[in-house]
């Protein structure tokens, strides 16, 4: 809210600090404030909207911060009730806890006084006429919205009631609203006169020719006002003050103050009370407050006297019960102060958090729990970065178009009811769409782009999975990229202490989007045991083209929640054999569709314990071998107990050959190295 510095000064006899200094003080004690010339722009937290969206409210804070005496008084006499030939009623006191109406006869509505117009202008409001300026001034001073009706334009009785569906309301600005059901309105026999707590209407507007006015100072429940604001998307100075909750006791101050000021401005013949409908007056609260507890919470040694003074300046009553207990009487308008912890905050912020001395906590020396999930995440990122990939974060949202582009089932995607835009309508079901786009963007500037992301993906019902994905281009696209990624993922998984991972290209299941996302033949499932943990391979050429790639794109996507279940940090030392290893190569011809991984696995298995390692060193694919492929395995034999003789190695080799032959595969030649 914008505050006029001179207006704030008018509450004090003592000179206030400069606007800049005052702004800093307010910032340090609860209200972030900037000074701009002779005005202050203070942001009032929602919890304080009920008493600080007013010059009086902020002045009270200043008085507490500076320990200045607040100089403010209003007429104490209550207004005499008059006799009127119309009824005023409130249908639901819960929505309108208080309704106060006064009648001012024979007023002169000219231009308002310049002093008031000046202050209004400084506080950001346009002066209009004496009546409007007066009610606005009262609101900016006390925080209580006040409204004036032309009494002679009201037809019959006044009712505070819910709107009827389809009712028409025309605002002061001549804007027409067709109201839905159940918004709170002030209405006469002809319909709505005002939207309760939000906006006055055109029909009973006060103008220069108005003779008699009704001045309303009412209290409306914040839920009711918020409903109107939301439903009509109409936020006003008045609604702002009601929306966070306002205490009905402010009505007293406002109606007294408006009489003080209004007498000389509108020069009414007489002022009478029409009604003050206030069935359940709000009450001050008494809170028992333990000073030891206060000191412990803030970690300061504040005296009883200091504490008492702070409360008094804030308008609270204090009674000292014992040397450690106070009884604090909190005025009803401090709706944010309900419990002892709220009082701790009041003392703390006025005392000043900058005055609190840092004091390290004393606690049991309990070491933090090791979060293995987090450690694995770190290991994985470091691993990929060490191999030259770059980490990214992408938005967690996708569009409807992404669903169809990547072949995702709409039923499985989680949709937002209020997305930022159509582009961000769904929660991402895969990391790949945005990651591939980022690769595409970078490809405009870099020849080699290798990105990865670790993040959550989502699918119905309420599923959330930590996922790892990478996407790479490396033109000119060589067929090696596939194997590079495969090798990368293989090593990554091994780093996680997972030994039974393998790649399955044969029965690769079609998971969501699989058929549109991946190249039908250049992709594999990543498996641990029998569980599918992810996919790797080439992006489908059609999809790559749609995403604007002219080259082949390679990617992987791994369900980390799933994979990390198998991760283990246990590492066991294998003794280093003092005996030399014997290396033999073996070439075998196998059917075209046979999995190389299975051949290697079979060699390893059938050779027994003394086979230390099996490596694929060559795959030969000739036109003659059109239904077959030839491969060469390098097999390492080694014992921990003795030198292996040529005879022993030969026996082991025969076992492997036999296993191959049982599969119907034949040997080509054997080179001994």
């Amino acid at each position: 809210m914008i505050f006029d510095y001179a207006w704030l000064q008018s509450f004090f006899k003592k000179k206030l600090p400069t606007p800049q200094k005052l702004a800093d003080l307010l910032t340090n004690h609860g209200f972030e404030t900037q000074s701009v010339g002779s005005v202050l722009d203070a942001s009032i937290p929602p919890s304080r909207a009920g008493d600080c969206l007013s010059h009086l409210g902020l002045a009270r804070e200043i008085s507490a911060i500076l320990n200045y005496r607040l100089n403010y008084s209003v007429a104490q006499k209550s207004l005499k009730p008059g006799k009127f030939d119309f009824q005023v009623s409130v249908i639901d006191p819960e929505q309108c806890p208080r309704y106060y109406l006064s009648f001012w006869s024979d007023v002169k509505v000219g231009n308002g006084p310049t002093e008031i117009a000046d202050r209004l202008r400084k506080a950001g409001q346009r002066p209009i006429n004496a009546s409007v300026d007066l009610v606005n001034y009262i609101m900016l001073e006390t925080g209580q919205p006040v409204h004036a009706f032309d009494a002679d334009l009201i037809k019959g009785s006044i009712e505070v009631r819910p709107s009827r569906s389809g009712e028409i309301f025309i605002s002061l600005e001549n804007k027409r609203y067709r109201l839905p059901k159940d918004l709170l309105v002030i209405a006469d026999q002809a319909g709505p006169l005002a939207l309760a707590g939000v906006k006055g209407g055109k029909r009973a507007e006060v103008t220069q020719s108005t003779k008699n006015i009704l001045i309303e100072a009412a209290n409306f429940d914040y839920r009711t006002v918020r409903r109107t604001v939301r439903s009509l998307d109409l936020r006003t100075e008045a609604s702002w003050r009601f929306e966070n909750g306002l205490d009905p006791s402010w009505v007293d101050l406002a109606q007294r103050r408006i009489r003080d000021l209004g007498q000389s401005i509108l020069k009414p013949d007489r002022i009478e009370r029409v009604v003050d409908l206030y069935p359940h007056p709000s009450r001050d609260k008494n809170i028992s407050f333990d000073l030891t507890w206060l000191r412990e919470r803030l970690g300061i040694q504040i005296t009883t006297k200091q504490t008492e003074k702070i409360f008094q300046k804030l308008g609270f009553g204090v009674q000292i019960v014992s040397n450690r207990k106070l009884r604090v009487k909190v005025p009803s308008w401090r709706i944010d102060v309900q419990a002892p912890e709220d009082l701790v905050e009041e003392v703390g912020r006025i005392y000043g958090y900058s005055q609190i001395k840092a004091d390290p906590p004393r606690a049991l020396l309990i070491p933090p729990k090791v979060n293995y999930q987090r450690l694995w995440q770190r290991l994985i990122k470091d691993f990929l970065v060490n191999f030259g990939l770059n980490e990214t974060y992408q938005y967690s949202f996708l569009s409807e178009r992404d669903l169809s582009l990547f072949g995702y089932d709409r039923e499985l995607a989680i949709e937002l009811s209020n997305p930022m835009s159509a582009r961000y309508q769904f929660l991402r079901f895969s990391l790949l769409p945005n990651l591939l786009r980022a690769v595409g963007e970078n490809a405009k500037r870099f020849n080699q782009v290798e990105l990865f992301e670790m993040g959550r993906i989502f699918s119905t019902p309420d599923q959330e999975k930590l996922t790892l994905a990478g996407a790479l281009i490396d033109p000119p696209a060589g067929s090696d990229k596939f194997y590079e990624i495969k090798g990368l993922i293989e090593s990554l998984i091994r780093q996680l202490g997972i030994t039974d991972a393998w790649f399955d290209g044969y029965q690769a299941q079609d998971y969501f989007g699989g058929s549109k996302t991946w190249h039908p033949n250049h992709r594999v499932e990543i498996k641990v045991g029998s569980a599918v943990v992810g996919f790797l391979g080439e992006i489908h050429p059609i999809l790559a083209d749609r995403l604007g790639f002219s080259e082949s794109v390679f990617a992987f996507e791994i369900d980390l929640d799933q994979l990390l279940k198998f991760a283990s940090e246990q590492q066991e030392y294998q003794p280093i054999s003092p005996y030399p290893a014997v290396i033999r190569d073996l070439s075998v011809v196998i059917p075209q569709e046979e999995s190389l991984e299975r051949v290697i696995h079979l060699a390893d298995l059938s050779g027994g314990n003394l086979v230390r390692d099996v490596d694929l060193i060559d795959v030969y694919q000739s036109d003659q071998l059109d239904k077959e492929k030839s491969l060469t395995l390098r097999i390492v034999y080694q014992s921990n107990e003795k030198n292996l003789s040529a005879l022993e190695v030969g026996k082991l080799e025969q076992k492997i050959i036999k296993a191959f032959q049982q599969k119907g595969w034949h040997l080509r030649q054997s080179n001994n190295a």
């Binding site: 972030e32 937290p45 929602p46 912020r349 906590p361 933090p368 987090r374 970078n442 309420d462």
Partner: protein, 331 residues
Amino acid sequence: MDLDQVSKEAQQAINKCRDLSELEETARHYLGKKGVVTTAFSQLTKLSLSQKKSEGKKLNQVQAIIADQVKQKEKDFKENLFQSKSESKIDISRPGKKIKLGHLHPLTKVVREVEDIFQLIGFSVVEGPELETEYYNFDALNIPADHPARDIWDTFWIKKSKPKQKKNLLRTHTSPNQARYLEKNQPPLRIIVPGMCYRHEATDRTHGFQFMQIEGLMVDEQVSLANFKAVVERFSQMFFGPDTEIRIIPDYFPFTEPSVEVSMRNKAGEWLEIMGAGLVHPNVFKAVGYPPYQWQGFAFGVGVERLAMIKYGLDDVRQLYQGDLRLIQQF
């Protein structure tokens, strides 16, 4: 055999050698298993004892001479070789070969650093869901439905597939994990919770609708605001540098009371907000079923982008979600 002749020939042959391999060849010719001198030794058996003695002595001398000459020649060769190797030149001014290097995202670097600092003082790192219930995001944090403060967290709501389904949302902060963790664990406890959060807000240079936050929570029998100040001061000095100055001013959050804002002073002397914090509101303890006022705590929420901006001088948070290599490769 004329041993003098052999010795002379050998000397000539050795002198003629042009490199080490020729020298080896020559040495082998005379001194090898089947070499001239070795063969001569084997012939000695055919001689009489006295001849054996004199010829043998001579042969030994010749063998020693040749060996000595080979050794000398070898030394010469090696010296020359070392000389020429030492004299060879490369262009040491040429730039080193480019090594392919990957880079961690700056947000990851910030989160790791924060995690490491807090783990040093006994905070465990835990994680929670991004897809959150209305209860944990709001109700359990003293923000009931209709509470005006709900407006501060403009929320992305999940479309219900069935009308009766409970309302889910994308968490607007990491604070739901205060309640989640307190429910399942027994104080005293200290945790930090890093994670992605979402708010339905217009974006600008310093705000994104998606951002990363780190929640902190310490609950013990006696925890004060002065304790929090000590922790956050130490954290700031470890994270930003030993001379870092911080400021604590009042703020408002429904789930802390009192609530504060922590700022650090940058080189230009401006205060930059780094976190919101406060003492845990008794209603949060109440929501997770703790007896009122038995436990005390402080909680804080740090904006990771904010820390990254201050630490690295980034000027637009939105850049952090573009995957632009020109940015990432600087880290």
